[in-house]
Symmetry: C2
Subunit: 199 residues, 2 copies
């Protein structure tokens, strides 16, 4: 399979790359331009990426900025960091990609537990996670040519659990292998319209 | 109680007004300016409304545009109709209102079943409904001075069931009284951070 991975340099993205590249051809896309350059906050940059990389069987996105901050302090612009980034960035990968991705190809997006289990400071992040989850189950009905879409929705992963422990009190960290397996399940089975909760 | 109702002229808003105005003082806000003018897609207009109407115990929003359309045809701008309207419009009522609303006051927003049960053409509407649901459960933890927030999330209501029957096949319509009761429960009990599903 030929897989386009956006956000290959992140904590989860690196592990996704290591796992998938054993069996598949993985093209890495990032702002810096690992194999191909893309700024997912810019629809025209996404369009250009799809015109550059042909014959894609699966798109995996493990990227997308969003801003943490107290409800009393978040500005409208702070919310728009996540709206243009993790939300419309991922949505545009699907909206534009549906024209380019191969028959029976798949999209796998990333959200997180904050969509339904918030922490203090997560209002703007919960917002975009909830948005992408609901978008995906709706889009799943309408993608053309047998294309599928799923979302991997993890809780805190063990690799970064220590760093985030104060912000996620009482959240059980999961092994990174379980999270990566969510992406494998999305890409290599035929499920569609699923929120794959890793928690 | 003094209640600020945004969207009082809509199908649901009219019934909310009729019910609440029997027991409470209800100030109606709309673009046309029933009692007070507001354009919820414009944060400065919301700020001005809160500066005009003082001593608010409860904010109810039954307004917010969003666009239906096929996944293959929705443009980025089509998604932004809902993002600026039903999503950031409602969010800004809370973001800005937290400074103005009385101690122990409440916010009641409106989403809908499409957040978790999509129909064909609902991708942009499902997106904003899911976003507002997740925002509300996060915001509920952080509102100041005893303020609360809930979301009423109805399915198709009987009043408009015939009109929408072709778009919502197999969706059981609910009586409008049940929907209005969701708003009553949010405002007059002490629940917080709830998605009040009317289906």
């Amino acid at each position: 399979m030929k897989i386009l991975l956006i956000g290959a340099s992140g904590t989860i993205g690196t592990r996704i790359y290591n796992t998938f590249s054993k069996k598949h051809e993985v093209v890495r896309a990032s702002r810096g331009g690992a194999d191909v350059a893309v700024d997912i906050t810019d629809a025209s940059s996404i369009e250009k990426m799809y015109q550059t990389v042909s014959d894609i069987d699966a798109v995996i996105c493990a990227a997308g900025p969003a801003k943490f901050g107290a409800l009393s302090e978040l500005t409208e612009e702070d919310y728009y960091v996540g709206i243009r980034g993790k939300m419309m960035g991922q949505l545009n990968l699907v909206r534009i990609g549906q024209k380019y991705v191969n028959d029976n190809g798949s999209f796998t997006l990333t959200t997180g537990i904050l969509a339904e289990e918030p922490i203090v400071g997560s209002a703007a992040v919960s917002l975009v996670n909830g948005a992408v989850n609901s978008f995906a189950i709706a889009a799943a009905q309408e993608l053309p040519r047998g294309q599928r879409i799923n979302v991997v929705c993890p809780t805190v992963v063990e690799d970064s659990a220590e760093m985030y422990a104060d912000f996620f009190p009482g959240f059980d960290p999961v092994p990174m292998e379980k999270v990566v397996n969510g992406y494998v399940r999305s890409v290599e089975t035929k499920i569609n319209g699923r929120i794959i909760k890793i928690y």
